[in-house]
């Protein structure tokens, strides 16, 4: 996978993820709609640029989206949906900087940073959990189900009363997240790691309603596939 093809694929997937989010915002307060109608239009430019021989069209879309992201951050005084919006912003700015970079090396650096951060998003998440005794004995995950804001239904809260299952789930999540960097050793292992990661995000989307995480993280997968091929 070349830098150009990986960047185009990431741009297209990110544009689709941002369109999905923007359509949800059109359902919200009327005053916010111009921001998100503009975002949908700019995503359209990114999609055209990714699928055509005129990359400047995509660049216009990306730079416009990067500028618009500042207005949206100001509007909500931060990300609307925490981590998923932060990953979307990171991807957007890395893709824009990679396209604007004056040399191929700097373009690779900006795009590679995105792939690196994707790897770190799993590893650091695993590390901060495994150093917490509540995660190691399954109690933290029980707390997530028992009283956090995330479970999408009251029935799901009953999982808090299944300590053995939660202990297994806790360690499965921590071990996967901590071991994710090892998946970079080969293309096959990375693809396997990304399939597991995608399944993890799908489970989070179903259990906790985190649908934006699912689409945003998936959109960045081409960056780590390119990085693995470039480095290993």
């Amino acid at each position: 996978m070349t830098l150009e093809s990986a960047a185009r694929l990431t741009e297209a997937l990110l544009a689709l993820a941002l369109i999905q989010q923007s359509l949800e915002h059109l359902h919200g307060p009327r005053a916010d709609r111009p921001l998100f109608l503009a975002r949908i239009a700019l995503c359209g430019l990114v999609l055209v640029g990714a699928a055509s021989p005129w990359p400047w069209v995509g660049l216009v879309g990306l730079v416009g989206l990067a500028g618009l992201s500042l207005l949206i951050l100001r509007r909500y005084q931060g990300p609307y949906n925490g981590g998923s919006d932060r990953m979307g912003l990171l991807a957007l700015w890395c893709l824009s900087l990679s396209r604007l970079a004056p040399t191929p090396a700097l373009a690779e650096l900006a795009f590679g940073y995105l792939g690196l951060q994707l790897m770190l998003s799993y590893f650091i998440s695993g590390w901060v959990k495994v150093v917490n005794p509540d995660w190691r004995d399954g109690r933290a995950l029980a707390d997530v189900f028992r009283f956090s804001a995330y479970p999408v239904s009251e029935n799901l809260r009953r999982l808090a009363d299944r300590p053995r299952l939660l202990l297994v789930m806790s360690w499965a999540v921590m071990l996967f997240e901590l071991a994710f960097p090892l998946s970079l050793l080969s293309r096959e292992s990375l693809i396997a790691g990304l399939v597991i990661a995608g399944t993890f995000h799908l489970a989070n989307a179903c259990l906790f309603g985190l649908n934006r995480f699912f689409w945003t993280w998936l959109s960045v997968y081409p960056a780590i596939l390119w990085l693995q091929a470039r480095v290993v």
Partner: protein, 163 residues
């Protein structure tokens, strides 16, 4: 086990010096240099409760949880929410606003909660004045604690601009 409710660190409105808005580049920086510490600790979790009253007096009772979770969600709905989940994502945004009101209070967070409450309660049959409070749920030992950490001053429902 639900422990008796306690009220602590209750404030009626954000302090004026804390009402300033952050600039976009300061807000962007944590995205460009992310921490990725998802769920490192399971912090006390906010619930938004509202009360509609006939007068501008601060309500002492009559609180209702805003958007309580349904008992169950079908598998079909779960899959559908992968592509269309605006209400839940708005609820999560209000959770963020509630946490911000405690950690770094601003008028913005309070206004967002008021406007979203008002939009949903526009056709409410009773009460001209709207208040909300933030109940934080946490575990202490084996007991679940509920603690009111913030209560807004009442606002006239008709005067809350729904954008």
């Amino acid at each position: 086990m639900i422990a008796p409710r306690r009220t602590a660190r209750l404030s009626i409105r954000p302090r004026p010096e804390e009402g300033s808005r952050l600039q976009p580049l300061a807000l962007l920086l944590p995205a460009l240099i992310p921490s990725w510490n998802f769920f490192d600790v399971i912090a006390p979790s906010p619930r938004i409760e509202y009360a509609l009253t006939a007068s501008a007096a601060v309500p002492k009772e009559g609180w209702t949880e805003f958007r309580p979770r349904p008992q169950r969600v079908s598998a079909r709905s779960l899959l559908g929410r992968l592509v269309w989940n605006p209400r839940w994502n708005e609820t999560l945004f209000l959770v963020s606003c509630a946490e911000r009101l405690i950690n770094a209070p601003t008028d913005h967070s309070q206004d967002e909660i008021f406007t979203r409450l008002a939009a949903e309660l526009a056709d409410a049959p009773t009460g001209d004045w709207l208040s909300f409070r933030l109940v934080f749920v946490s575990r202490e030992g084996e007991a679940i604690q509920r603690e009111v950490l913030f209560q807004s001053a009442p606002r006239r429902l008709a005067g809350i601009g729904v954008p």
